[in-house]
């Protein structure tokens, strides 16, 4: 049994302009101590997937189908009491923007204590000690002093550490990190990523790392899923995704980013604009931007197909190539 099992998860936002299928039929599983990277551009559905797992969607968003199982226990459609006992307790989440995620009128200590009192059996007197301990764990210097400070008195990197401390205060099994370093400078990003790796080893955490930065997942993740327009279009190990991409979108992304390692040559951009979620094409959502698109791509949605050990891609070109090989 997997630690977390997501099957056919679909989430829509019912807006006056129409239904936006932010996530459609997303499936993946997460094992103990593993890091899975979810990569995609804005609007690809990566954050909504996380919000759906945590069930913190706001109106007009709603899970429309599928299942999310934590240690075999179904979370979709379960009573609020069940999810409340898991959310923040077993599965915790950190967000991109630590300034808006922390409450500006309470001290860091207050907020940590609140999380500790809510989710553990600790007495109030023990909560402060635990808060200090957590701040020390995430590498904040002078934790006794910091607990009495307000979020605005801390730097961005420090606030993100506080968010991590809060998420880990109840010893969860799973940490969902939604763009945890996007708002940070590179040197601070390096600190936070190192911290996450270290804590993972020490506490045996499983991490779902959501990011648009391919460089960040390259070094952090065992498994990577690539999302486009609400669907997983490719999944595999870091090596599969970076060295043997089998979906035109993944290939395009890798071609379009300038690398510090490569010598200067012209970038090859993905043409066109990001997909309009209100007017999804009927076939493959990437087909309007794909320079290899065939007739079938415009009319029929490709299924995920196995490209080797745990490497899947949803692209008709692979079907054509295989059919071509079979014919020869």
């Amino acid at each position: 049994m997997s630690l977390l099992e997501v099957r056919g998860l679909s989430t829509s936002f019912f807006t006056p302009a129409g239904e936006i299928r932010a996530v459609s039929g997303v499936s993946f599983s997460l094992e103990e101590g593993e890091t899975i990277g979810v990569v995609g551009e804005s609007g690809s559905g990566k954050s909504v997937t996380a919000y759906s797992i945590m069930q913190i969607l706001t109106h007009p968003g709603r899970i429309t189908g599928g299942s999310v199982k934590y240690r075999g226990e179904e979370l979709v459609g379960c009573p609020e009491k069940t999810i409340a006992s898991i959310r923040g307790n077993k599965i915790s989440m950190i967000f991109q923007d630590s300034m808006t995620s922390l409450n500006p009128v309470y001290t860091v200590g207050n907020q940590l204590e609140e999380a500790i009192l809510l989710h553990t059996d600790r007495e109030k007197s023990q909560a402060r000690a635990r808060a200090v301990e957590m701040l020390r764990l995430v590498g904040i210097n002078e934790p006794d002093k910091r607990v009495r400070q307000y979020p605005h008195e801390l730097s961005g990197g420090m606030r993100q550490r506080v968010m991590i401390a809060m998420a880990l205060a109840c010893e969860p099994d799973i940490l969902i990190a939604d763009e945890p370093t996007t708002a940070l400078d590179v040197t601070i990003q390096a600190q936070i990523l190192e911290l996450m790796k270290e804590l993972q080893q020490r506490l045996g955490l499983a991490i779902i790392l959501i990011t648009h930065d391919l460089g960040v997942v390259a070094g952090m993740c065992d498994k990577i899923v690539v999302m486009y327009a609400g669907r997983i279009i490719e999944r595999g190990s870091a090596e599969d995704i970076f060295y043997e991409p089998r979906h035109e979108y993944t290939k395009g992304l890798l071609r379009s980013i300038p690398s510090i390692e490569n010598e200067k040559e012209r970038l090859i951009p993905i043409t066109g604009a990001p997909v309009d979620m209100l007017m999804l094409p009927s076939g493959c959502a990437f087909s309007p931007r794909c320079d290899q698109a065939m007739k079938i791509c415009l009319s029929e949605l490709p299924e995920e197909m196995s490209m080797g050990d745990n490497h899947n891609a949803a692209c008709w070109l692979n079907v054509r190539d295989m059919a071509g090989k079979a014919a020869v």
Binding site: M158, V186, A190, E194, H212, I257, I260, L267, A273, P274
Partner: protein, 333 residues
């Protein structure tokens, strides 16, 4: 591409589209009743940019890179130092106006830098109106169409409003506006950081094409080191208001001299899992100090593992460490 050091800069008006000497910008920040504190955003920066080259300016948030770009165009008046653009010292009202006909800027945020109540045509033509270059109504419309062509947007877009466009399209409109006066020099202030990865490459290529077509010179400000490396001939690294290292793009990445540059480069994630796992990262301790409360001496010393007593006493100047390569560090000599 020409690589010249600061020394040759002193040689006079002979070369360089833009020369900056000891540029300073201080902001006064209220710190209670009748009290104010000084924020040294740019603290004595000197450089030159030659016609046709792209100079990258990198650094972390709060290092003063955006302020440098804005002070260059006198969007903020400098507190000290000289700016010489196209052989003329910039300072008087006329000189500033004259410069702004030849130099423009593209901003980071394509959402807040374009007026939502104006049509695309009016946005792009605004610089023409300001300088009285628009001519007749037909002439103005024709020029706008030319500019839309230059940024590869269809002519029909001229009558639309900004909310109808995606981030990438908005940035194209921002670029068209910057091109309107037919400038020689453009400050590109983080022009791709707000865009999705797949759109960034389109805009970067466009900057390169426009440079070739119109003979533009860029100051390209960004925090993304791989983007800067890709587009720049020469790069300056800033830390807390000062330039700490400057070199050609290749040299800076292959042999960085300043400890800050080294750690900055080592912090950039590489898009290659094997390389990324194999390398050792120099992770800097602590945060960037506040520019209101500079540490004194070398500003980097609070995070530098090689800091000595001298670093706390005196601020190091840029010294040559190689061909067209300078760094400001007491431990280099």
């Amino acid at each position: 591409m020409a690589e010249r050091s600061i020394e040759s800069m002193a040689e006079g008006a002979g070369g360089g589209l833009l020369r900056v000497e000891e540029l300073k910008k201080e902001f006064h920040i209220s710190a209670g009743f009748l009290k104010s504190r000084v924020l040294r955003a740019v603290d004595g920066v000197s450089f030159r940019i030659d016609a046709g080259e792209t100079v990258g300016l990198v650094g972390e948030s709060g290092c003063g890179k955006t302020t440098v770009g804005r002070v260059l165009l006198h969007l903020y008046p400098p507190t000290g130092g000289r700016i010489v653009f196209d052989g003329k010292e910039i300072g008087t009202k006329d000189s500033i106006r004259d410069m702004r006909r030849k130099a423009s800027i593209v901003f980071q945020d394509p959402y807040s830098s374009l007026n939502p109540r104006m049509t695309v045509e009016d946005i792009i033509a605004e610089p023409l109106d300001v300088f009285g270059l628009a001519g007749t109504k037909q002439g103005r419309a024709a020029r706008v169409r030319e500019l839309l062509d230059a940024v590869e947007l269809p002519h029909e877009h001229a009558g639309r409003y900004i909310h109808e466009f995606s981030g990438g399209q908005r940035q194209r409109i921002g670029i068209a506006r910057a091109l309107a006066v037919n400038p020689r020099f453009i400050v590109c202030d983080e022009p791709v950081s707000a865009l999705d990865v797949s759109i960034q490459a389109q805009i970067i290529n466009m900057f390169e094409d426009l440079q070739a077509e119109f003979g533009l010179t860029y100051l390209f400000i960004a925090h993304d080191l791989s983007v800067v490396k890709h587009i720049s001939n020469r790069i300056m690294v800033m830390y807390l208001g000062k330039v700490v290292e400057t070199a050609s793009a290749g040299e800076l990445y292959s042999s960085p001299a300043h400890p800050y540059t080294k750690s900055l480069l080592s912090a950039v994630p590489i898009v290659d899992p094997r390389l990324e796992r194999a390398r050792t990262r120099i992770v800097l301790e602590g945060d960037v100090p506040s520019p209101i409360d500079l540490p004194g001496g070398c500003n980097f010393r609070t995070r530098c593992r090689y800091a000595t007593q001298r670093c706390g006493e005196e601020s190091p100047a840029l010294v040559p460490v190689g061909e067209g390569h300078e760094a400001a560090c007491w431990n280099i000599s």
